[in-house]
Amino acid sequence: MHKRRLQLLFMLPAFIVYSLFVMVPMLGSFYFSFTDWNGLNARYHFVGINNYISLIHDAEVWIALKNTIVFAVLVTLIQNVLSLLLAILVDGSSWVKRFLRVVYLIPALLSALAIGYIWSYLYNPVLGVINMALQNIGLGHWAQDWLGDPKWSMYSVVFTNIWQWMGLSMIIYLAGLQAIPGDLYEAADIDGAGNWERFVKITFPLIAPAFTVNILISIIGSFKVFDIIYVMTKGGPGTATESLAILLYKKAFNFNEMGYGTAIAIVMFLIILFISIFQLRILRSRELDA
């Protein structure tokens, strides 16, 4: 392994495939974001930063950005609080707990497409099981057009996304919990610490790595969210659930504004990059302190 030629040879296949299908297209995005390329015509022109200027003045971009942020914040907060709670509750070796872990994880095995359809059916205002159930228990006035009403559609999509990923997030926390040495808790018991104190002083600091991973996965995943929204609402009603990825897809492949689409992609990338670096800084320093 000391010869450079040999090292290169080992890395070459991965290098070629990865460069050609990830790096080159990515650099292409930077290039095309300065053009008026429409995807159909072979010819295109340089337009400088025009795409970025129209992007700033495009109300739809701001709506998509706001929607994406709302989606990301809701998903990250609710999912992490609940999944950590579930992880603490299913930590143990009884068969019930092991069974529940398996059950909670099943939605993570299904495609976002499948889950989108399942919940579209449940949310359906007429045939939908949710409204039917509400009527059966005498809460008919709570029935809503869950996906068709802009007041509710975002929350409905957010809930569906949480439904899918709760189990995965729980399993990651569980792995973190099981790595905590048991004698720490015993010592705390001797000191007479209560449940809450045990959580704040031992559990929370020591699951920092799992916390970092989960928060990063949910935020980055949320900023890229496409499938589940595309299937359930296509971004609608109106633009009520339109995320950046949905807008990007629409601009590029429905309206053939490929150049403009790449500009949106780059804004999206910069946001994800910024958040990840910022988060890793904060969360990793918490890990070190612990």
Partner: protein, 275 residues
């Protein structure tokens, strides 16, 4: 641990509620596929009186599920084989040799973890057209290998760094070439990471919808998610058909998961926590 009765009751209630929230939609999914539409309307929540299997056979035929299954299997299998081979090979010099060359390659590879797919998706369309790979299995397989390389190289490198060098050094002294050492000694040692790489990536690839939606539209090349998607255009709200196709498409992963729970969970966790 001292536990009061109320706190364990609250805990049990929470666990039960989330279990119901997960299970009830899945039961409804299955009941829609086996109940007649009339029974579904009359008694949504009741256990099916008559099991109707015809939805499955009809979905199987009209959605061309057999072709879709074949395509999904082929694409997933070749992508996984591809990413395992190229990433394991690339990780070996990166983990073993500390030099500027291997260091920069490592950074170059893992930079991809930060690149969201939408950033390359539009030029990728042009590239595939140029290479005549649009609407082909090969094109999609190459994309899957490429986008899973960063994380897989990262996992392999991390694991290899923890493997002592003695084994391979004695093999090298015995006159075993580097390639043979890698294939006969290192690669078999990496089984646990290979399992992680395969499990996490198989979930992503088997369930992916966006990439086939963009680059694999032709009917004869459709994957399962695309077959289900195209199906909904034809039978606007024929939920029995859609749900049958969903159940069929999900079965392989769900069954593998139920059979290999522990390996599966370890694989997912190994894949996530190392990140």
């Amino acid at each position: 641990m001292k536990k009061t009765l109320t706190s364990s009751l609250v805990a049990a209630a929470l666990l039960l509620i989330w279990a119901l929230i997960v299970i009830v939609p899945l039961l409804i999914l299955i009941s829609v596929t086996v109940k007649s539409p009339k029974e579904m309307l009359d008694s949504t929540f009741a256990f099916p009186k008559e099991w109707m299997w015809s939805n499955f056979t009809e979905a199987w035929q009209t959605a061309h599920m057999l072709t879709a299954f074949g395509n999904s299997l082929l694409i997933t299998a070749f992508s996984l084989i591809g990413v395992v081979i190229v990433s394991a090979f690339a990780a070996y010099p990166i983990a073993r040799v500390k030099s500027r060359l291997t260091g920069s390659f490592f950074l170059y590879f893992i930079a991809g973890i930060m690149i969201p797919f939408p950033l390359s998706m539009i030029p990728l369309y042009k590239l595939l057209k140029m290479l005549d790979l649009i609407n082909t299995h090969q094109g999609v397989i190459l994309i899957y290998i490429a986008i899973t390389i960063p994380f897989s190289v990262f996992l392999y490198t991390g694991f290899l760094k923890g493997v002592p060098k003695e084994l391979e050094e004695s093999a090298l002294i015995d006159g075993c070439g580097p390639l043979r050492t890698f294939l006969t000694i290192i690669f078999p040692l990496m089984k646990p990471v290979t399992a992680s790489v395969i499990i996490t990536n198989s979930l992503t690839i088997w369930n992916d919808f966006l990439i086939p939606l963009l680059y694999l539209q032709a009917r004869e090349n459709r994957t399962i998610p695309m077959a289900i998607f195209s199906f909904t255009g034809q039978y606007n709200s024929n939920w029995a058909m859609i749900f049958s196709a969903i159940v069929l498409g999900a079965l392989p992963l769900v069954i593998t998961f139920l059979l290999l729970q522990n390996q599966f969970i370890k694989g997912i966790v190994g894949g996530a926590v190392k990140g």
